[in-house]
């Protein structure tokens, strides 16, 4: 460790407060965070602010481009697109965040245990991941639907059950590297149990890559939801989601481009906001980055 002028300058702030301070100074992260808050607020307030009833249709009007009456235009059944984007946002946000949280919980725990315990346990656990990767996903979804019927909770679980696999792999790799660090050995020599070591020493230190992967997962989960809806597991019309709006919009991108552009913008906005916020969070939470 040679010349490290910044370390001296940054003394005297605690990790979390420091993280918060640095996050606040990261203009992009703040913009991302504010945008997410705005989107969440819109989703929460949808029942009160949506300009139309989401079931209302005007068959004679059909698909119309944006106008004063319909700011984002209407779909082929003459339904107000803004209303659908707002209602769809509710579903997409719920799916995106809850399913990702499920994946996160399972993946982080599983990956940490496999990576930390290592040896035969690790081998068995990772081969199990391979097996789950290999099983035909569609059949799995169809079976879920048949056995449990159709509901949103199931949708979250189904998506979470798929997405955790990659998360587990990432976390495992991370933990394997962390395991070599002396502070883990220090924890062992303190006589801490494995579970305590995993909970207090390993998981918090895998946050960086986990945050990054999470920000990428949320939008792809939102799109995956549309696929599950096509298999009958997801939400049913007239309710909608961004994933569904985008896939319908993709079909008519030439005739009615606004049906694709606006839901697409909403998703992109979310992705980029998440991404900037995620990067900011990761950097802010990592004291090693804090030093240079």
């Amino acid at each position: 460790m040679t010349g490290d002028p910044l370390a001296q300058a940054e003394r005297g702030v605690s990790l979390w407060r420091d993280a918060w301070l640095r996050l606040r100074r990261n203009r992009l992260a703040v913009a991302g965070g504010l945008m997410l808050i705005l989107l969440c607020a819109l989703a929460l307030l949808t029942p009160w602010i949506a300009p139309y009833d989401y079931k209302a249709q005007d068959l004679a009007l059909g698909a119309a481009p944006p106008s004063a009456a319909h700011w984002l235009g209407t779909d082929t059944l003459g339904r107000d697109l803004l209303t659908h984007v707002l209602w769809g946002g509710r579903i997409s946000f719920a799916v995106g965040f809850v399913a990702t949280a499920v994946a996160l919980a399972i993946g982080v725990l599983y990956g940490t245990v496999a990576g930390y315990v290592g040896g035969r346990v690790d081998a068995v656990m990772m081969r199990l991941v391979d097996i789950l990767y290999a099983l035909p996903f569609m059949i799995f979804i169809i079976l879920l639907m048949v056995i449990f019927g159709r509901n949103l909770v199931l949708l979250f679980l189904a998506i979470g059950a798929v997405e955790w696999l990659t998360m587990a792999r990432i976390v495992r790799g991370q933990v394997q590297a962390l395991k070599q660090q002396e502070f883990i050995e220090a924890a062992v020599s303190l006589g801490l149990s494995r579970w305590t070591i995993i909970r207090r020493h390993l998981i918090p230190n895998t946050l960086g890559p986990v945050i990054v992967y999470t920000t990428l997962t949320i939008p792809s989960v939102m799109l995956l939801e549309a696929f599950l809806s096509f298999l009958g597991l997801g939400i049913q019309p007239p309710a909608s989601s961004w994933g569904l709006l985008i896939s319908y919009g993709a079909e008519t991108m030439e005739e009615y481009p606004w049906l694709l552009i606006f839901p697409g913008l909403a998703l992109s906005l979310t992705l980029f906001s998440l991404n900037f916020l995620g990067d900011g969070l990761r950097d802010a939470l990592d004291p090693r980055i804090a030093k240079d």
Binding site: T2, G3, R11, G12, V13, E185, G191, T196, P204, N205
Partner: protein
């Protein structure tokens, strides 16, 4: 006319948290065939000073605020990037501190070695290879042809540094910047490398800038010494005058750190054994079915209130010995007895409650502290886990521990990254003491710390051993530290104990040839 003449060099770092003046108005000059030593602690600006000459300081945040650096009739600081590249590795070459991190682990040594030649001279790969081989022989690497395709990790530290030197010399530079070239090496290797640099310098009439934190190391080789603190030169002069009559208090402090004496206090009189080790073996299987005998048949007894030094070079098995005693590595054979309990036979869950009696202080206080736990968390965890403190008095106990290890109470909510290395090591020591252990193994606890810090930590350790009635196994490669701290010494060589005895007796009359070699290689200021 000097080879390099630096005047009024200032390098500042413009960070989000303000300006850090890394180098302030530094001037010096180096002649061909002459060695300039720049000495100072980390953060003193000595490395930044050198690297800024070659444009190797990241900019931004770094910026050269002022100065001139005349070299071969040109001002290095005002060269275009392309011109500067033609100087780097060609006329001015560098050797860095840790060849493990400074050599690219992904490329073969031969490839890296030829690079400067291929870059700066119009030579074929074949010619470059021939020259590289020749140079490898010159820096003392036998069988260079066979090892040309080897990777850095396949070499020992000393060998790597030889390659590094060869790489610096291959384009026949006029000036060599050596940034702590021996700090990461064992004493015996350090002596060889220093000798090698001196020889080559003489042969090629090189100008050398030798950056170091250790006055003892530069004592023999430097023509001039520059002492830096906080970016400024606080004192300069020839070694002899500087050592005899240091003017600046900082220089005196540095000198004191290099002139460590013998242990002041006499060994404890009573001989109550705390831990007994008998025929300990820890073997690893290596690829190719080989067996690495990291610890091979070591026996020792540790008495209460005693500090036992374990000395050896890297690879001698001293760290493995420490970890085997603590059962962090399962020994292959032998016995470790704590009180009446045979530790080697216990499984992990049976061992867990006993672990609090055996604690460890690690070498690297950056790696051994969880970056996401505050001081309070780090110290409270063992207290709570072993129920050594109730919910109510845990804070009081943590504060007491902090007092004990000399941490300010106000730092209780801070995180490791906010501390300097020495303070971190205090946290680590506090954590080890929190469980009220009987035996502590300290594995090179001061070797990652800055020059003036170890003294404080060593004094802290001495005080704590006395106060808490501890028994300490102190593992180190630094003989001066061991002599200052330990009552008895065990010398390890290739996994075997070659010699042991009371510290001063051993110093006075080393028995084993290896011990003699070790003692002779240690740099001294007198």
């Amino acid at each position: 006319m000097a080879l390099l003449e630096v005047e009024d060099l200032s390098v500042w770092f413009h960070t989000r948290n303000g300006v850090v003046r890394a180098v302030e108005q530094v001037s010096f000059s180096v002649d061909a065939g002459e060695t300039l030593a720049i000495v100072g602690e980390s953060g003193s600006g000595k490395s930044v000073c050198c690297y800024s000459l070659l444009g190797l300081v990241p900019m931004p945040p770094g910026r050269i605020e002022s100065g001139r650096a005349r070299f071969a009739g040109r001002d290095l600081l005002r060269l275009a990037p392309r011109q500067l590249r033609a100087v780097r590795g060609n006329q001015i070459a560098t050797i860095c501190q840790d060849p493990m991190t400074c050599l690219n682990p992904f490329l073969s040594l031969g490839e890296q070695l030829m690079e400067p030649l291929l870059q700066h001279r119009k030579v074929s790969r074949r010619a470059a290879r021939a020259q590289a081989l020749e140079l490898l022989e010159e820096v003392g690497i036998a069988d260079a042809g066979r090892r040309f395709g080897a990777y850095p990790h396949e070499f020992s530290g000393g060998m790597r540094q030889r390659v590094m030197i060869a790489m610096a010399l291959i384009a026949e530079p006029k000036l060599l910047i050596a940034d702590e070239p021996t700090t990461a090496l064992d004493v015996t290797i350090q002596a060889q490398i220093l000798r090698l640099i001196a020889e080559i310098q003489a042969r090629r009439n090189l100008g050398v800038i030798f950056v170091s934190h250790d006055l003892a190391v530069v004592a023999d080789i430097a023509d001039h010494i520059l002492v830096m603190q906080d970016g400024r030169v606080v004192e300069r002069g020839a070694p002899r005058t500087l050592f005899r009559d240091p003017q600046h208090p900082y220089t005196r402090k540095l000198l004191a750190a290099s002139r460590r004496g013998r242990k002041a206090a006499p060994p404890p009189p009573q001989r109550e054994p705390v831990i007994g080790i008998e025929g300990l073996r820890t073997w690893f299987s290596a690829p190719g079915g080989r067996t690495v005998k990291a610890v091979d048949d070591v026996s020792l007894t540790l008495y209460r209130n005693e500090i036992l030094g374990v000395v050896g070079e890297s690879g001698s098995g001293k760290s493995t010995l420490g970890r085997s005693i603590l059962q962090l590595v399962k020994p292959t054979a032998g016995s470790v007895r704590l009180g009446g309990t045979e530790l080697t036979r216990l499984n992990e869950s049976a061992l867990r409650p006993l672990r609090r009696h055996l604690q460890m202080i690690f070498q690297d206080p950056y790696a051994s502290l969880n970056p996401r736990m505050s001081v309070f968390d780090a110290l409270a965890e063992p207290l709570r886990y072993h129920r050594l403190a109730s919910r109510r008095d845990v804070t009081a106990q943590v504060l007491a521990l902090m007092d004990d290890v000399g941490l300010p109470r106000s730092a209780i909510r801070k995180y490791p990254h906010e501390f300097s290395g020495g303070q971190r090591q205090r946290i680590a020591i506090g954590r080890a003491l929190a469980t009220r252990p009987e035996v502590v193994v300290a594995d090179e606890p001061v070797s990652a710390l800055d020059v003036t810090i170890p003294a404080q930590i060593l004094d802290l350790i001495l005080a704590l051993v006395a106060r808490h009635n501890l028994s300490l196994i102190f593992i180190s490669h630094d003989l001066s530290v061991v002599r200052y701290l330990c009552d008895r010494v065990l010398v390890l060589h290739r996994g075997k104990a070659v010699e042991s005895g009371a510290t001063e007796e051993l110093w006075a009359a080393p028995q084993a040839a290896y011990t003699r070699e070790l003692l002779a290689a240690a740099p001294r200021l007198d």
